[in-house]
Structure formats: structure tokens, C-alpha cells
């Protein structure tokens, strides 16, 4: 909810140019958005093929758990259909809407679970190659990194996950958040600096 509200507010603040950039950065035309709202099977399928990987990567980065990420990523697309059915859903940026919804679901998950995802980065590390000592050290770093990420503000977590998890470009991230690229640069710089401070001496 936090991200949806933030996104809406920002869109309103930046006006048409920002909206156009958002549509362009996500590579989606207004006609395509109209087709989604008509629930046309082909358009819905194409949308899923196109955006599922990026949504999945984002959620996986935030949660660090494959099964959870699969479930939540799937939920994001179901929410899209439900929103369209209610006459809502994306009007300008499909990717922005999907990522904001993903952020909401992740936030809901953490609110419900009341737990920190200890050890969940272990699965991200290569299964072969490193020696056991090295693997243990990486696991430890992974846990600390995940905890450090959770210590960031919601906006900072979101932008870091968009850049480093979903691998969005600066422009795509800006479009998803409805902000100017310079604002994203500053936000991610502060986020990374804060992350570094939180990690302290645990970095190699």
C-alpha cells in the first residue's frame, strides 16, 4: 500500500511527461494497456511472458526464498486480473504497477511473518566450487546482507531491489517509481551507503 500511494502521488506530481517516460521505459504502449484491460487472452499471456521474470527476480531478491518468490510473483499477476476486473489496474505503466504490487505483497508478507529471513541467501550462492569454510563465510555474509537490506527504508529497499534484484536500468527504475533519474541516483547512493554502514566490518 505504501508503494502504491507513493507511486500515485509521484505520478500526480510529475505530470504527463513523467507518465510518458514511464510508458516508454516499460516499453508498453497505451494501446497495449487498453488490451490488458479488455482481458484479451493473447495480450494477457504476452504480458505474463514479458514481465514475470522481472517480477520474480524482484520478489526473490526481497525474500531470498525460491518457493515464496514463485508464489508471490504469481499472486502479483492474479492481482492484476482482479484489479482490471474491478475497473482498476495500470493506466500508465504496467511495469510500475506490477512492481508496486510486488512491493506491497512483500511488505504484507513481512508484516504477517514477523520474522527475519535468516539464512535465506544461502541458496543464492553457487552450489559447487567454494570450499566449506568459504561457503560458510558467504552464508554468513548472505544472512547479514539480507538483514542489512531490511534495515533500509522502504523506498531504499524498493529501489535497491529494482536495480540489483530485478536488474532494471536507471530509467526503468525511475519510470517504475514515477521519479526523475537524478532522484533515483541519489536515493540508491544513500541506500548503498547506508547498507555499507550497516554491514560494517563484515564485508571482506
Amino acid at each position: 500500500m505504501l508503494y502504491c500511494a507513493a507511486q500515485t502521488t509521484t505520478y500526480l506530481g510529475h505530470g504527463l511527461e513523467s507518465l510518458k517516460k514511464g510508458v516508454q521505459a516499460a516499453g508498453v504502449s497505451p494501446a497495449e494497456i487498453d488490451r490488458i484491460h479488455s482481458l484479451d487472452t493473447r495480450s494477457v499471456g504476452e504480458l505474463h511472458d514479458r514481465f514475470y521474470p522481472v517480477v520474480y527476480r524482484y520478489v526473490r531478491f526481497r525474500l531470498g526464498n525460491e518457493q515464496l518468490a514463485e508464489d508471490l510473483a504469481s499472486d502479483v499477476f492474479i492481482r492484476l486480473i482482479e484489479a482490471v476486473q474491478r475497473g482498476k489496474g495500470p493506466r500508465t505503466s504496467i511495469q510500475g504497477w506490477l512492481m508496486a504490487t510486488a512491493a506491497n505483497l512483500v511488505a504484507d508478507y513481512y508484516r504477517r511473518s514477523y520474522r527475519q529471513p535468516h539464512g535465506e541467501l544461502a541458496e543464492e550462492l553457487p552450489a559447487n566450487g567454494p570450499l566449506p569454510d568459504e561457503l560458510a563465510a558467504r552464508n554468513e555474509l548472505g544472512v547479514q546482507l539480507q538483514q542489512a537490506l531490511l534495515s533500509l527504508t522502504p523506498d531504499q529497499q524498493h529501489v535497491i531491489a529494482l536495480r540489483f534484484g530485478a536488474s532494471l536500468s536507471l530509467e526503468e527504475t525511475a519510470a517504475s517509481l514515477g521519479k526523475e533519474a537524478n532522484a533515483i541516483k541519489a536515493l540508491q547512493f544513500r541506500a548503498l551507503a547506508a547498507l555499507r554502514r550497516t554491514l560494517g566490518d563484515s564485508l571482506p
Partner: protein, 488 residues
């Protein structure tokens, strides 16, 4: 953050992403190295995380689920259209044609915020009329009608706020009646010498206000009419869509209930509902025989000065009395359907407590000379037994009849719990379909619930969903939602 630092940072990030070392990146900007290093160290750690790729099976599963949802959503929309009977289907087709030809969707969207007196306001009202006609379910239609009436009130408030003059009309409850200045649904309504006011209007009455907003910040009423009134007089004209009774033009709609075999010059008794647009719609027309009687309007609260009595409130020579137990199957305006019988509620009907569809009730009615049932008294039946037995003896209710005071258990279908102190609200539980959502109130299973800041509501619930409700019923009968959640 300086522009140069921002640019250097972005360049270094991209370099890290391509596999460059941190020190190599920093060597590009030696004067900024100290500033860049902490953030880039964190970025380097994040960049080392392997990019997660979705499992093809999971992606395919998600795709199938999404397409299935989309198909269901499409079919539900289609079903909603096909469920309409033929005339409604015709309306749908007509609406579609209008949409195709004139871009109706965009037009109505643009008109949604228009106010009375503006160019697109007619489009807004026409769209509402079409939407009302497309809704078949009576409860849903009533909820939609209330929603549209809320809009009328909001439009009046907005015109007043903007200091603009504009024609307004709405249904509202009379809350205050100071001299020359009434308060109706929290809106200030001024009366002048030219204002036509139906007699006998008092606080709490539901009325139709027709007037104009003024720069003074209120509404100057040209007419304040009781929402419903009764008319007795000769039938002067009969046409499929219009009748004239006692000189009053009455519109006949699909919901109008008209007794058969009424002919010109017969005396008819009509229950009339005034629409916000000023139309007088006949809800029920009953024959009173062929003898002419002078016409008269009768205020529902009986404060008028009728020349003839309203619907019979006491036994008449040609009327029999009937009592029976039954279940309320439907209740629309003045018309009740109880265990298969249709009864007409009049201004003198004694409705004891809040009675809703599904309640077990005891009914005392009059059988008019024309065979119709006129509701004299209805009250909840405290007994679970419904024998549908009746006596036509004209006797008063038997001594074992339940008291009029509603019991917590019988208040709403479903269980009930909580204290039942005299002035304390009782907690009730029930479930049903959400048929209306407007600002501050929901309609579920025919019950109107007030929403407060403490009400907890599942955010995904919408009209048409099944919901479970926990609410407080206050002594004045109103329900306040504590929790509304999706039914399992």
C-alpha cells in the same frame, strides 16, 4: 549529491556489473574515490549475488493461473450481461452500439465529475439511468440508486462550496425544521413563499428536495415532497406507461403493481413515489370500486388533512382481518412478500422493530374488498416455529404473541451474542452478498451497515462478494460494522 558524483557513481555501477574490480572503477575518479567507495563496496557485494532466474515450470504454472483468472473474469462479465432478460439485453446492445458509435465510455468517464448546469452533466445522468436499468437484482438496484442519490447530495455540497448556482434534486431525511431554514441530509435548505411543501412533513421523514443552490451557501427549495404519498381518486386516463388518477399524471414502470380489472372511472387507491426528477411513479394501484370519491393526497405520517381515509387502518365493513406467521421473503418500499403473500404497507401500518428479509414474523392484515392484503401490524415472531397458520376471525393478536421488542436472537439471521443491556448495542453476526458500497455505509444481505473508523474491512471485498459480518445493533435499530470479511 553533485551531478558529477552522481554520474561517476552510475558509471562505476555499470562497470561493476560488467565484472570490473572496485579499485579499477575508483581509479577512474581518484578525487571522488573516498565518497564513492562505501556505496560501491555495498554495490559490489550485491552485484556478486547471482541473478535469480525463474524456474520454467513455475513460470508456466503462473501463466496458466493468470490466463484462467482472465478467462473467468471475462466469462463473469459476459454472464452478467446474458443473465439479463431480453429487454435488458436489448438495452445492453443499445449501450454497446452507443459506445461504439459515440465513444460512450470515454464520454461518461469525462462526465463523471461534472456538476449540474455543466455540458456533460446530462451524459452523467443518462449513464446512470442506463446503469440502473441494466441491474436486475432489486437490492442491487436499490443500492445503486442510493449511491446515485449520494452523488446528488455531493453535487449540491460541491456547488455550495464553489459558490455556484445550479439546479439540484435529491432524496434526503429531514433533520431540522427551523423557520424558513430546514436541514435535510445535513444540507441547508431555505424555504420561501414560493416553495411548495407537501403537508405534514416532519423530522425523520424521507423527502424529495428540488431546488437551486445559492451564493448564500444553501439550497433554495422550489419543492419539498414526501418521498411517497397515497392518492385516492378516479382513474381518468390509462395508457401502458402513464395513468392519470385524480388529475395526477402517474408513470407506470416495470415494478408497478397494478390490480387487474381497473377501468376508467373506477376509483383507485395509489401508492406514489416521487422521483428526484419530479416524476410521480405509481408503485401500487388498487381498485376501490366504481363509486367516485373526491381525490386526496394523504401524508404517510398522517399529519395531512385527508378528505378520505388513507389505506384502511381499521376494520371496515367489507374488510376481513387475517393473522398469520411467516417468513419475510422480500421487502421493497411499501410492498412486503411474506411466505408467498404480497402485502401493502400503508402509513398506518405498525412495523414493530427492524424487520428484514429472512425474519420470522407474525402478521396482522386486512383483506380489502378487492382481495388485496393491507398490512396492519408486523412483528418478529420469537418462536422458531413457523406454522403459517392463520385465523380470519378478526380477533386481536393472541396472548402468546411475542412482544414487539425485538429479541437479539431474532434480530438478524444467524447467531447473536453479547450483552443485551437495555441501552447497550447487541452484537450480531450474519453473512450475505454485498450489494452496495457507498461512503460510510455498506449494504450486505439487505442490511445497511454504518462504517466507522474502527470498522475492520477486508480490502478485497467488493459488490457481489459473499461476506461475513460482525456488527453492533443499537437501540434505534441501526447497525454499525465491527468486522466485514470475505466468507469462506
Amino acid at each position: 549529491m553533485s551531478e558529477r558524483l552522481a554520474m561517476a557513481f552510475e558509471v562505476c555501477l555499470q562497470a561493476l556489473a560488467t565484472g570490473a574490480s572496485l579499485e579499477a572503477c575508483l581509479s577512474l575518479y581518484p578525487d571522488l574515490a573516498d565518497e564513492l567507495r562505501p556505496a560501491l563496496q555495498a554495490a559490489a557485494v550485491l552485484s556478486r549475488k547471482p541473478a535469480a532466474q525463474p524456474a520454467p515450470a513455475a513460470q508456466a504454472r503462473s501463466r496458466s493461473q493468470m490466463l484462467a483468472h482472465a478467462t473467468r473474469a471475462r466469462s463473469q462479465s459476459r454472464w452478467q450481461v446474458l443473465r439479463q432478460p431480453l429487454p435488458r439485453l436489448g438495452l445492453v446492445l443499445m449501450a454497446v452500439m452507443v459506445a461504439l458509435v459515440a465513444g460512450w465510455g470515454g464520454l461518461t468517464s469525462a462526465a463523471a465529475q461534472s456538476l449540474p448546469g455543466e455540458t456533460l452533466y446530462r451524459v452523467k445522468r443518462a449513464d446512470e439511468t442506463v446503469r440502473l436499468q441494466l441491474v436486475r437484482d432489486t437490492q442491487a438496484r436499490q443500492a445503486l440508486r442510493l449511491t446515485f442519490n449520494d452523488r446528488r447530495e455531493d453535487e449540491a455540497r460541491e456547488l455550495i462550496r464553489l459558490g455556484r448556482k445550479g439546479p439540484v434534486s435529491f432524496e434526503g431525511i429531514v433533520e431540522g425544521q427551523a423557520a424558513g431554514q430546514w436541514t435535510i441530509s445535513s444540507l441547508p435548505v431555505a424555504l420561501s413563499a414560493e416553495t411548495q411543501v407537501a403537508g405534514g412533513i416532519g423530522p425523520g421523514d424521507s423527502v424529495i428536495v428540488i431546488g437551486t443552490t445559492r451564493l448564500e451557501g444553501d439550497i433554495l427549495a422550489s419543492e419539498i415532497l414526501l418521498h411517497t404519498y397515497q392518492l385516492v381518486g378516479p382513474v381518468e386516463q390509462q395508457a401502458p406507461s402513464e395513468w392519470v388518477v385524480a388529475g395526477q399524471l402517474l408513470r407506470i414502470v416495470g415494478a408497478s403493481q397494478i390490480q387487474e380489472d381497473i377501468h376508467p372511472d373506477d376509483v383507485a387507491r395509489v401508492l406514489v413515489e416521487v422521483q428526484p426528477n419530479g416524476d410521480h411513479v405509481a408503485l401500487v394501484i388498487l381498485s376501490m370500486g366504481s363509486a367516485r370519491r373526491p381525490p386526496d393526497r394523504v401524508a404517510p405520517n398522517g399529519q395531512g388533512s385527508p378528505a378520505t381515509p388513507p389505506f384502511p387502518a381499521s376494520p371496515e365493513a367489507d374488510d376481513d382481518q387475517v393473522e398469520f406467521n411467516g417468513i419475510v421473503e422480500d421487502h421493497q418500499g411499501p410492498v412486503w412478500r411474506i411466505s408467498g403473500r404480497t402485502l401493502l404497507q400503508t402509513s398506518d401500518s405498525d412495523i414493530r422493530g427492524e424487520i428484514v428479509v429472512g425474519d420470522q414474523v407474525r402478521v396482522h392484515a386486512l383483506v380489502s374488498g378487492t382481495g388485496g392484503l393491507i398490512l396492519v401490524r408486523i412483528e418478529k415472531n420469537g418462536s422458531d416455529r413457523v406454522d403459517d397458520s392463520e385465523s380470519e376471525s378478526g380477533e386481536e393478536p393472541s396472548p402468546d404473541d411475542p412482544e414487539a421488542t425485538p429479541t437479539p436472537e431474532a434480530s438478524v439471521g444467524g447467531d447473536s451474542s453479547g450483552d443485551t443491556e437495555a441501552d447497550d448495542p447487541e452484537r450480531v453476526h450474519f453473512s450475505g452478498t454485498v450489494t452496495g458500497i457507498s461512503s460510510g455505509q455498506w449494504v450486505i444481505a439487505g442490511q445497511t451497515l454504518r462504517i466507522t473508523g474502527d470498522s475492520q474491512i477486508d480490502e478485497d471485498l467488493g459488490v457481489g462478494d459473499q461476506a461475513e459480518v460482525r456488527a453492533l445493533r443499537y437501540s434505534d435499530g441501526h447497525l454499525e460494522a465491527e468486522r466485514i470479511e470475505a466468507a469462506d
